[in-house]
């Protein structure tokens, strides 16, 4: 079978790139000790091998997953790639070795360390995605809406369908500050694009009024005899509060964003949401 080799793979950080690592590993029948994405900090002692991303190779690996393991395994691998678990690449590689060996049975092997770790990572991603279905806070700027999120996992693809269906007549953007990406939607088209350094514009009067009303509602609905901060923090961890108008204590203007805005004023004017660039309109369009 495969022998472990004192090698590290380095790839471009894309999903296809990782699939090419799998291809490489099977080609040479070698198991790398680590897989790094480009630019990530690496173990110093290992010889590193650069894995070129080639669409055809990635396609072959991807196609074999539903055929030789199961369609659910394909979903699990995709979601696992978006999770924020440390060394997710090795985890996915190990899962695929096992999967190609055992076939569909792998999906039941919940007590196996690799399968268990992957399931947990995916569960965490799904859970965070679900939380964000509720915790995303849009600001309305005339005809468009925008929200900023800072998730741990890459959840935009997980929440995409929900928001694009619910707000199908709206033009909106959800900007993922952690991963430098944004989900952009206009009636009839949607896409996830790379984006960084976007800063939300100042709210107008109407926007501020509704933020105040919502914050007022939030404080009126709690029963003070039952106050329970621990329960609240366990259900809505504090890391989410920053971008939630009712929680950041500023009636809607996030304290940090306000500070950033001041800084940002000097070097370059903040970008605002414009129409989708023409090049994006054709890609990733599922309507």
């Amino acid at each position: 079978m495969f022998k472990p080799s004192a090698l590290a793979y380095t790839y471009d950080g894309s999903f296809e790139g990782l699939l090419c690592c799998v291809f490489e590993s099977y080609t040479w029948k070698e198991i790398p000790l680590a897989v790094h994405s480009e630019g990530e900090e690496q173990g110093l002692l290992l010889e590193s091998k650069w894995i070129e991303t080639e669409h055809a190779k990635a396609e072959r690996v991807l196609k074999s997953i539903p055929l030789r393991i199961s369609p659910e395994a394909e979903e699990l691998v995709r979601l696992g790639f978006w999770s924020c678990t440390p060394e997710k690449e090795m985890l996915l590689l190990n899962f695929l070795y096992l999967g190609f060996k055992h076939g569909r049975k792998i999906m039941n092997m919940l007590a196996d360390d690799t399968v268990n770790a992957l399931m947990k990572a995916v569960q965490q991603l799904r859970r965070e995605g679900h939380l964000y279905l509720g915790f995303v806070r849009f600001s309305v700027y005339g005809p468009v809406m925008a929200a900023v999120i800072e998730p741990q996992g890459y959840i935009l693809p997980v929440i995409q369908e929900h928001f694009c269906d619910r707000f199908q007549n709206e033009s909106f953007m959800i900007y993922d500050q952690t991963h430098g990406a944004a989900l952009i939607h206009e009636p009839g088209r949607e896409a996830i694009i790379p984006l960084s350094g976007w800063i939300a514009p100042e709210p107008d009067e109407a926007e501020e009024a509704y933020r105040r009303l919502w914050t007022g509602f939030y404080h009126a609905i709690g029963i003070k005899e039952r106050r329970n901060d621990r329960l609240r923090s366990s259900l809505m961890p504090k890391r989410y509060w920053k971008h939630m108008v009712e929680m950041n204590g500023s009636n809607g203007v996030p304290a940090l964003a306000a500070a950033q805005r001041k800084k940002a004023l000097q070097p370059e004017p903040p970008k605002t949401i414009g129409p989708l660039p023409a090049s994006l309109r054709q890609t990733n369009n599922h309507t």
């Binding site: 509720g134 915790f135 849009f138 199908q168 709206e170 009126a220 029963i223 039952r226 621990r230």
Partner: protein
């Protein structure tokens, strides 16, 4: 009065209504309208009391012609009164919904003039929201007992979920504390809603586009701790409601004293949160774990033990059914083991197809071994080194840490070894017998 002031008054008046779930309805978005509903429900925020905020929960008005002793909006209580117009409600709902603050609207109302008039006002607000503003999100509306059948039927076609509050767990308590309401007047609309939902199901089979009547079903709630009813009575009633009226949920609301009344617990009474928690645990056992009310409590032991959760309590009283073999026990029996929930039971069933499970594996699947260890074997053997003495058993089964979130910090620390609590636990010789059971 501006909208902000109205919103604060009418939210504060609605906050004692417990249900804020947005589940049970699964409707896709539509071109030309705003919103969708998700079957699993979505929490959009959590209030300082830790309760989920999913819906814009407000009253149409807090003016009321009734004088229910436990209610903050009773006629004789001198609070500030306010009323929303249908336009104000529709605007707030749309604007909040667009910003993703809420999953929808929960509309209830004090009784204006009479039940019919009140229901007409609710219909007016919902029709505006659905037909003019094209709101396609979740709506939960209160059915007003005593309103005309035709009006209630119209209301149900506009809402996802309807609820009629049963208010108090028995006719006697109702008679004392809510003299304007009776068991019959409450159960009648419940029956009507149930029949309409059933009719509607068959209509939908026949005509694809038949309008949906309360697709998320109906729920109810009752106040716990305002009257002397026992947990046994409450749980029996709950079970009856699920069976006879096909309710989706029964909610419990720990009574928070809001007004001084000689018929009620005094104003400094703390809400019985732990009791409410135990009732919810038991409610879960009824709905998802295949338990029946009379298995959990009976006339002799009519209240839950504050130290043991209802499932542990049942298990230590039915030691003859344990231990169960993890690799062979049917799903239904796995569900009855303390420390194994629906998820872990499903995972066990799935994982044991791929190979036999040991205790290490169980841990990975999410089984709480601290409690489960006394009730299970893997490959015929109990957990190695398991000590089943009265002391360890008690300590392992008692709810300690898990309860912390339900006991707000301002509460006095509960003394675990108070006499009346210990007396309710099974006697010492019982444990010895159980020990044999576990080792056999």
């Amino acid at each position: 009065m501006d909208v902000m002031e109205k919103l604060e008054i009418l939210t504060a008046s609605a906050k004692y209504d417990v249900a804020c779930t947005s589940s049970g309805s699964d409707r896709k978005g539509q071109a030309g309208s705003l919103g969708s509903t998700a079957a699993m429900g979505i929490c959009h925020s959590f209030a300082a009391d830790g309760r989920c905020i999913s819906l814009l929960k407000v009253l149409m008005t807090n003016a009321c012609v009734y004088d229910c002793a436990y209610c903050i909006n009773r006629k004789s209580n001198p609070v500030r009164r306010a009323a929303f117009t249908p336009e104000e409600i529709a605007d707030l709902t749309m604007q909040f919904y667009r910003r993703n603050y809420i999953e929808g609207l929960f509309l209830s109302s004090g009784i204006m003039r009479n039940p019919d008039y009140t229901t007409e006002q609710l219909i007016a607000a919902l029709e505006l929201l659905r037909n003019v503003y094209h709101f396609n999100g979740y709506i939960h509306v209160k059915a007003i007992p005593g309103a005309d059948d035709a009006l209630l039927s119209r209301l149900g076609l506009l809402a996802d979920r309807m609820s009629v509050n049963i208010e108090l767990p028995s006719q006697e308590s109702l008679g004392v504390l809510a003299p304007d309401k009776s068991k019959i007047s409450i159960l009648k609309p419940m029956g009507l809603i149930k029949d309409r939902i059933k009719e509607n199901r068959s209509d939908i089979v026949n005509y694809n586009h038949a309008p949906r009547f309360a697709p998320a079903g109906q729920s109810t709630q009752m106040i716990v701790g305002a009257s002397p009813d026992t947990d046994y009575q409450i749980l029996n009633l709950t079970e009856g409601l699920y069976r006879k009226y096909a309710l989706k949920r029964v909610f419990f609301s720990a009574y928070t004293p809001v007004i001084e009344d000689s018929l009620l617990p005094s104003l400094d009474t703390k809400p019985p949160l732990l009791r409410e928690h135990r009732l919810y645990q038991a409610d879960w056992l009824l709905r998802f774990y295949g338990f029946q009310a009379n298995e959990l409590l009976d006339e002799a032991v009519p209240n839950f033990n504050p130290l043991l959760d209802p499932k542990c309590s049942w298990a230590v009283n039915h030691r003859e059914q344990f231990p169960v073999e993890i690799n062979r026990a049917p799903y239904e029996m796995l569900l009855r083991v303390p420390g194994i929930g629906v998820r872990s039971a499903q995972r066990i069933v799935k994982a044991r197809r791929a190979g036999t499970l040991d205790f290490q594996a169980l841990k990975k699947l999410g089984v709480v071994l601290k409690r489960a260890q006394f009730f299970i074997t893997c490959k015929g053997k109990p957990l190695e080194g398991l000590k089943v003495s009265e002391h360890t058993l008690l300590r392992s089964l008692m709810s300690g840490q898990q309860l912390a979130p339900f006991q707000p910090p301002q509460y006095e620390q509960m003394t675990l070894f108070e006499d009346h609590n210990l007396a309710a636990l099974p006697a010492a010789e019982g444990w010895a017998g159980f020990k044999k059971g576990a080792e056999a």
